[in-house]
């Protein structure tokens, strides 16, 4: 088929589903579900066929002209976009199907499904965008859709606050991205991504090194916001206020993935600036480590997963910044699969037990849920990096990329973060599957209207993703060839440190949480100060509340006072003083004739005297 019709199928189908659902099907949730899932399926079919056809020449169309500037929109079909497009469409479809069960009883189902379709449309259009400004536009729309989905239960103040926070914090990053994109235009005169990346005529050849560094740093600011990197990471843990399937989508293939994807997309630009790469390495390794420490102490299953996302995104950026496009993209894709899986599993638990608490899920019999437990084990093992599951190979690539120039501080930090990852992942697994004692299932457990613990609509996507996460590790060479890079083969010896830290992490988790006699308290609890620090997320949020939010509101308050007292106030005073003068002169008009006559005489006298003296 024509690439144009395929790409239209891929991107327009969800948009059409969204439009139909929101405009016509508000009262028919059943039909809306069918339409949205149909749209998702078509989209997946389109993306898969595109991938099947392999890389093609981009399509470009004129969007508008302003003076010399011509803005185009179009679609880019290269390895990265084709592969990631399929991942997005696949995971979104899984989430949509899963939502049939998870959101089955929500009164605003239509709105929910419509927003999922909107999300998919925005993300796919972003993925295939050929023009940097087009990317930016859909990047923003991805943020908008996630705003609506995080705040889906808008009657819950915490959900609204989380949505607001997500929108604003990513917006802060977007300011940087926006300026960066505009700078690109100033330097290059166009936004065409293949043109910007071209080795001989692209931005790297054109721009002065300092300018290139500035541009890439600004774009990276956007990535920091979107991909929840330190210090703009705090919105992501809060974003779990949304429905769990939304978290699955948000943390895997959309939203946060957009940042990493953008860096992969513009990888040659970033490679052109050593300074930027250095900054990214620092930020990403801080993030990977920091988020892992927070995941160690979180008791909420979704929080653990959220912090692990932040940490893993740090890993991806580490890989990209170390120069390996393959490592970053590979980890992006494997992570998308196992993280979606983990969230969907956690959704099964949450849906059934109506609790997010790890210990409680374990006590009340989490391990009796077969699909969820299987998914949790496979996804968790992939996250921890246990061979031969997905995460192991992709993380291995990152270590290899970091280790190219010998042992650096970054590879040590990455190993430490990998150790913590294994530890907190298995902490989560053991808390759920090996509780100290288990309550017998209460008979009313099934009475609260959810029917089966694991309905097929929810189990099927979990099953599919379990298989996906399990085998994703073997796609390495396929992905590498898709990117046009030969896959490197690493010797067993070079894999040794990674394997060892993972084993150490798992063992420590076993000691703390797994074995029958374990205290089920993390080792970190022995250092209360650190535990407090981790629990409070290194006080980053506290800092924002105390400094940034307060300063902004203070400025607003001061300016508000300035407006009322000074600007608006002074015009009011001007007006009222005219009235005052009027009131004053009115008093002269006292009605006493002789008073008037006296003034007349005096004034005439003065005038006469003046004329007399002058003349």
């Amino acid at each position: 088929m024509e690439p144009l019709s395929l790409i239209l199928l891929t991107t327009v189908a969800p948009l059409a589903a969204f439009t139909l659902a929101i405009l016509l099907l508000m009262q028919q949730p059943r039909l809306a579900q069918i339409v949205v899932i149909g749209g998702g399926t078509l989209s997946l079919a389109g993306a898969a066929l595109l991938l099947f056809q392999g890389p093609m020449a981009p399509l470009r169309y004129l969007w508008f002209t302003s003076g010399d500037m011509q803005l185009r929109f179009g679609f880019l079909f290269d390895g990265i976009s084709l592969m990631f497009g399929v991942a997005v469409a696949l995971i979104t479809l899984c989430v949509m199907v899963y939502s049939l069960g998870y959101m089955g009883h929500d009164p605003s189902k239509t709105r929910y499904f419509a927003m999922l379709a909107l999300f998919e449309w925005a993300m796919l259009s972003f993925v295939y965008a050929v023009d940097l400004l087009q990317s930016f536009i859909f990047w923003e729309l991805v943020g908008l859709a996630s705003f609506f989905l995080i705040g889906f239960w808008y009657e819950k103040p915490s959900a609204t606050a989380a949505a607001k926070k997500a929108f604003l914090m990513t917006r802060v990053g977007d300011v940087g991205l926006f300026i960066g994109v505009l700078l690109v235009l100033q330097v290059a005169g166009h936004f065409d991504i293949p043109g910007l990346l071209a080795a001989d005529t692209g931005l790297v050849a054109q721009a002065k090194p300092a300018v290139l560094t500035m541009i890439t740093l600004l774009i990276f600011v956007g990535i920091v916001g979107k991909s929840a990197q330190f210090p703009l990471h705090t919105w992501l843990p809060d974003a779990m206020e949304g429905p769990t399937p939304v978290s699955a989508l948000l943390h895997s293939a959309t939203m946060v993935a957009a940042g990493v994807y953008l860096m992969a997309r513009l990888h040659p630009l970033f490679m052109g600036s050593e300074t930027t790469l250095g900054v990214i390495l620092v930020i990403a390794s801080i993030t990977a480590l920091l988020a892992a420490t927070m995941a160690m102490v979180a008791t909420d299953i979704k929080k653990v997963l959220a912090y692990s996302s932040i940490s893993q995104l740090g890993f991806m950026l580490l890989g990209l910044a170390a120069g390996s496009l393959f490592a970053g993209v590979f980890h992006l894709i494997t992570h998308a699969l196992f993280k979606a899986l983990l969230f969907l599993c956690s959704g099964l638990f949450i849906h059934h037990f109506e609790s997010n608490d790890l210990a409680q899920i374990g006590r009340r019999g989490g391990r009796r849920m077969r699909f969820a437990t299987a998914g949790l084990l496979v996804g968790g093992a992939a996250l921890a990096g246990i061979p031969p599951l997905g995460g192991f190979f992709s993380k291995e690539e990152i270590f290899a990329a970091l280790g190219q120039d010998g042992v650096t501080i970054y590879s040590i930090v990455a190993l430490l973060a990998a150790f913590l990852t294994a530890y907190y992942t298995f902490r989560m697994i053991f808390l759920v599957t090996r509780p100290a004692h288990m309550e017998q299932p209460a008979p009313e457990d099934h009475a609260h209207g959810h029917g089966r613990a694991e309905p097929w609509s929810m189990a099927l996507p979990v099953l599919l993703l379990t298989v996906g996460a399990a085998i994703a590790g073997f796609w390495g060479s396929a992905i590498a060839s898709g990117l046009g890079i030969g896959a490197a083969h690493h010797s067993l010896a070079s894999m040794a440190p990674a394997v060892l830290v993972v084993i150490a992490g798992v063992l420590l988790a076993w000691m703390d949480f797994g074995r029958q006699s374990a205290a089920r308290v993390g080792f970190i609890a022995r250092i209360p100060a650190l535990e407090k620090l981790f629990n409070n997320g290194w006080y980053v949020d506290a800092f924002y509340d105390a400094v940034v939010v307060r300063t902004t509101m203070l400025i607003a308050t001061i300016l508000h006072a300035v407006e009322n007292k000074l600007f608006d106030g002074s015009f009011d005073r001007l007006g009222f003083s005219v009235l005052g003068i009027g009131a004053g002169t009115t008093r002269l008009q006292n009605g006493w004739v002789q008073f008037y006559a006296g003034w007349t005489v005096i004034l005439i006298g003065v005038a006469a005297a003046y004329i007399g003296m002058g003349g």
Binding site: L62, S66, V172
Partner: protein, 494 residues
């Protein structure tokens, strides 16, 4: 369809004829008054669309010229013509006029008088956009401004005496600056004509331009809500009835910006260049300042009022950057685009807030909570307007802001960065309204509103405005093609 029909006069005659008919209709027949107004608005809208389609974007420049000498001794003539800018602004006025009439469909008090004043206002606005004669330009300008006073005073709410008086005094002060300036332009030209196209060809003495330009700029700037002369505008918005707020923020404020463009920049280019850095700074301050003030407001309409100050700052900033050369084309395209986009957006804002107010009799943000579940349609529409205000792509304002910011970044990098940071502020105040009024726990007090959400006819004007915002959000080319040629033309002198 256009044929030999003097289309501009016909557009202008639509509200004039409606005004005459409305005045002849007995006050009891309120429905006839509404239908006459709606019909004239519809006809004007259709004609505006035709005008848009017939406007030759390749040739650009002034088209559809109609000129009839009126007082030849002093060179006044009835002279109508449109360029790319006025074509789209006429369209804007038609949209706001039509949706405004529909918004006020449920008005019950003194219907005849209301629509008569509203039509008068609309006549004035059309007149300004169409006139190429300085005398008529100013005459129509005053015709547009004056009906605001009775409209706010009689049909307004809250502190309306104060608001109406304040608005009137500010605008008349602006006119007081303008009138001598316009007369001095007429005099200094020595051509003995008020024909603006001829006056534009005359290059005035630079010192004269530098002296007169601030009068013109500030005179019109007051109406455009220029910081720090913006105080009348939020107060006026708050007190005015919905359709008046729509026209006021939607088109009346654009008259100011258009005046700066058509009289200030076109006739006094050197003055504009001389003053541009100063006034651009003022406008940029207004952009950020308005956003900050909007964050602290407790009344829906005040938030929108100050957001208008902020957004009109972008227009005025664009106009000033336009003459500075480095990125003039983008700046002017963006400014004119923003006039249109902001016009539609605020019309939508006020139309919807007006609806919520009519139903609930409250404009206080904190009074509500979880309104989204009680009035899902009205709230959705408000959210779309709010997102447009926050510059979310896919809605018309995004393009305008993009173009102006691009120019700002190129001309004054520091200022550019400052106003782009202002984008975050916009998001803050928009989201603050959303989360306080529309989201959060449902306030049972307003459960009665569930039954009276937007439906049928009431949905039409709002849906229309949303459609316009979305259309130009995705197809900016339709608008930019009309603007771009005129912009090139206009910037030739710089």
């Amino acid at each position: 369809m256009m044929g030999d029909l003097p289309v501009l006069t016909t557009i202008l005659l639509c509200p004039v004829a409606a005004l005459v008919l409305v005045l002849l209709t007995p006050a009891r027949a309120a429905h006839v008054v509404r239908w006459i107004s709606a019909a004239s608005a519809l006809l004007a809208s259709v004609l505006s669309i035709q005008l848009w389609r017939a406007y030759d974007t390749v040739q650009s420049g002034f088209q559809f010229v109609e000129i009839i000498p009126w007082v030849q001794e002093v060179g006044i003539s009835y002279h109508l013509a449109v360029d790319g800018f006025s074509t789209i602004l006429v369209m804007l006025n038609s949209i706001v006029f039509f949706t405004g009439v529909l918004t006020m469909w449920d008005l019950e008090t003194r219907v005849k008088e209301f629509f008569a004043f509203m039509l008068l206002l609309v006549i004035g606005v059309y007149g300004v956009f169409l006139s190429q004669d300085l005398f008529f330009f100013f005459l129509f300008y005053e015709i547009a401004v004056v009906p605001m006073y009775p409209l706010i005073l009689i049909w307004g709410s809250g502190n309306r005496d104060y608001a109406a008086m304040k608005l009137m005094l500010f605008l008349l002060a602006g006119s007081a600056l303008l009138f001598p300036a316009l007369l001095s332009i007429y005099h200094a030209s020595g051509l003995g004509t008020f024909n603006m196209i001829l006056l534009a060809q005359k290059s005035f003495d630079p010192d004269f331009q530098i002296f007169v330009y601030p009068f013109v700029f500030l005179g019109f700037g007051v109406l455009a809500g220029l910081f720090p002369f913006h105080g009348w505008s939020p107060t006026g918005h708050v007190a005015a009835p919905s359709a008046v707020s729509m026209l006021h923020a939607g088109v009346l404020m654009k008259l100011g910006a258009y005046g700066i463009l058509a009289v200030g920049i076109r006739l006094l280019p050197m003055g504009a260049v001389y003053w541009a850095p100063t006034f651009a700074t003022l406008a940029a301050i207004g952009v950020v300042y308005g956003a900050f003030i909007a964050m602290r407001q407790t009344d829906f309409k005040f938030v929108i009022g100050f957001s208008s100050v902020s957004h009109m700052g972008i227009v005025v900033l664009g106009l000033n950057l336009a003459v500075l050369g480095t990125a003039g084309q983008d700046a002017l395209n963006g400014a004119v685009f923003q006039m249109f986009a902001h016009g539609v957006m605020t019309a939508l804002f006020f139309s919807t807030v007006g609806f919520i107010y009519d139903r609930s009799h409250s404009k206080t943000i904190a009074d509500f909570g979880g309104l989204g579940s009680q009035m899902p349609r009205a709230v959705s529409i408000f959210i779309i307007a709010g997102l447009c205000g926050a510059g979310v792509p896919g809605l018309a304002s995004f393009w305008a802001e993009l173009l102006v910011f691009m120019a700002a970044l190129k001309t004054y990098p520091v200022m550019g960065v400052a106003i782009i940071v202002g984008l975050v502020l916009t998001a803050i105040y928009v989201l603050r309204v959303f989360s306080m009024a529309f989201f959060g726990p449902v306030n049972d007090k307003w459960d009665g509103l569930r039954a009276v959400d937007l439906q049928g006819w009431q949905l039409l004007p709002r849906a229309l405005l949303v459609a316009v915002l979305l259309f130009f959000g995705f197809f900016p080319r339709v608008l930019l093609d009309v603007i771009d040629g005129t912009t090139t033309h206009m910037l030739l002198v710089f």
